[in-house]
């Protein structure tokens, strides 16, 4: 029976897709295991999962760097931080442990998250069959074709890792030449010319029950908007949250604002401020979402056919926002600049103009038809 080893970075959003796909592989009688940072990964894995832990010596430092970056870096600069201060050191840190896991587990296929570059190095060094998981869909090709030196810089950074591992550099943005599983659809990303080994299975949405309480009887019969910054950007949200309050107070709608109450101050009666919500359960009860453009939140909103107002900050968010705008399902604002009037007008358009909702529903349908974890499992099996 084929054996699959998942190589994952210490980021929950990148672990979740492996869990859904692993479930499908296990149901087919295959063996699966993970290699990664125990503290960041184990809480998301099924009970009794086979985990090869990575020595955790450097990860508090990486976590601190990532936290500092999350507070300050914006736009293209975050791409440099992502690679120089996170992904490349992470690859060096994980390399020996991925080698050991491969020696012990002897996988038929290595399944490598695009951000867990150590997996790519080990697979290439040992000539293993390997697949890439593109958990977010923005680095499949040159991220900024308008400015060619950005893509060149990225290839150089990846090449430096390849050379350290005595491998010949390639120009594939770190992706597998055998199989690339993209957790998105072309309806969202826009049709791209990509090699035949790229497959789009739609986003992997968590099906874990979320026990976070929510006051469901607060909802009234008016349009409702969810305003969130996801889980990792909250501490730079002061302007964002205050502007949202100003934009929506006294409007004939209800707003669920996901924020620490102390950052928001007193809220009017049509705004519910909660530091945590059961987001997947709440989304079917709202009519639009205002967010930062994180891949998970965007896909969860679109899986519910919701139009979006996006204020991207960094990393892949600018491109995800561009995808959503390009697909016609949302409106983009500038994170550091937008005013209450901008936000109110954008939300009114997103709620009032059916073309945004229709586009969101088209993407929703594409997600439902993409095959998800089941299709990903079949593709992996085909590689074994």
């Amino acid at each position: 029976m084929p054996r699959f080893l998942f190589v994952v970075p210490p980021l929950a959003g990148h672990v979740n897709p492996t869990v859904s796909v692993a479930k499908e592989l296990l149901a087919r009688g295959h063996e699966v295991a993970w290699v990664g940072h125990r503290g960041a990964i184990e809480p998301w894995l099924p009970g009794g999962a086979n985990l090869f832990p990575v020595e955790d010596c450097g990860s508090p430092l990486l976590a601190a760097q990532r936290a500092a970056m999350a507070r300050t870096v914006r736009g293209l600069e975050s791409l440099r931080f992502l690679f120089d201060d996170f992904l490349l050191p992470l690859a060096r840190m994980m390399l020996a442990d991925v080698e050991r896991a491969v020696e012990v587990f002897r996988p038929s296929v290595l399944v490598v998250d695009q951000q867990a570059l150590a997996g790519r190095l080990v697979a290439r060094r040992r000539g293993l069959a390997w697949a890439s998981f593109a958990t977010t869909s923005t680095l499949l090709t040159d991220p900024v074709p308008e400015l060619p030196k950005v893509g060149e810089w990225l290839c150089q950074r990846l090449a430096s890792l390849d050379l350290e591992a005595a491998l010949t550099p390639t120009e594939d943005f770190g992706l597998s030449p055998h199989l690339v599983i993209v957790f998105s659809t072309e309806a969202l990303m826009g049709a791209k010319v990509l090699p035949a080994h790229f497959h789009f299975v739609g986003p992997s949405l968590s099906d874990r029950p979320d026990p976070t309480p929510f006051p469901w009887d607060w909802f009234r019969a008016v349009p409702r908007i969810l305003v969130t910054l996801g889980t990792v950007n909250v501490d730079r949200g002061s302007h964002y949250f205050k502007t949202a309050l100003e934009a929506f107070q006294d409007q004939p709608l209800q707003v669920v604002l996901v924020a620490p109450p102390e950052l928001v101050g007193p809220a009017p009666e049509n705004v519910l401020v909660r530091v945590h919500i059961p987001q997947l359960a709440v989304l079917p009860h709202v009519n639009a979402i205002v967010c930062h453009g994180g891949h998970n939140t965007v896909c969860e909103a679109l899986a519910n056919g919701l139009p979006l107002v996006l204020a991207p900050i960094k990393d892949d968010q600018m491109q995800i926002a561009r995808q959503v705008v390009g697909a016609g399902a949302g409106i983009k604002l500038r994170f550091g600049r937008f005013t209450a009037a901008d936000l109110r007008q954008s939300a009114e358009r997103a709620l009032g103009d059916p073309k945004f909702r229709d586009a969101a529903k088209r993407i929703q349908a594409s997600f439902a038809a993409a095959g998800g974890a089941r299709r990903a499992a079949e593709l992996l099996k085909g590689l074994a």
């Binding site: 293209l76 600069e77 308008e146 400015l147 561009r322 500038r334 994170f335 600049r337 901008d342």
Partner: protein, 99 residues
């Protein structure tokens, strides 16, 4: 095409600022002063496609298409991140000065 008379720094800056306000086309940009020190990424959150739109407008206004395309394609990643309005103004003035 290029003006017979070399424009002044202030003229180029004003033209550039006008183009930027057209491209961004959001209410806040009317209130924000655009100076030689304004950063494209930090201050204006200009996206790469908007930057290319700006380049097209400048090319139509000032000419020197080949120089412009080369300059844009030759910007290093670090230079793109740190790029200020002043660098673009100075590039346009350089293209206008006699060689």
């Amino acid at each position: 095409m290029s003006d017979p008379v070399t424009p002044t720094q202030q003229e180029v800056l004003d033209t550039l600022a006008g183009f930027l306000r057209e491209i961004v086309a959001e209410p806040w940009i009317a209130e924000v002063p655009i100076t030689m020190e304004t950063s494209f990424s930090q201050d204006l959150e200009l996206e790469s496609i908007e930057f290319v739109a700006l380049a097209t407008k400048l090319r139509d206004r000032y000419g020197f298409e080949a120089e412009f395309t080369d300059w844009l394609a030759g910007l290093e990643f670090e230079e793109i991140i740190a790029l200020r309005v002043g660098s673009l103004v100075e590039f346009i003035l350089r293209c206008h000065s006699p060689r």
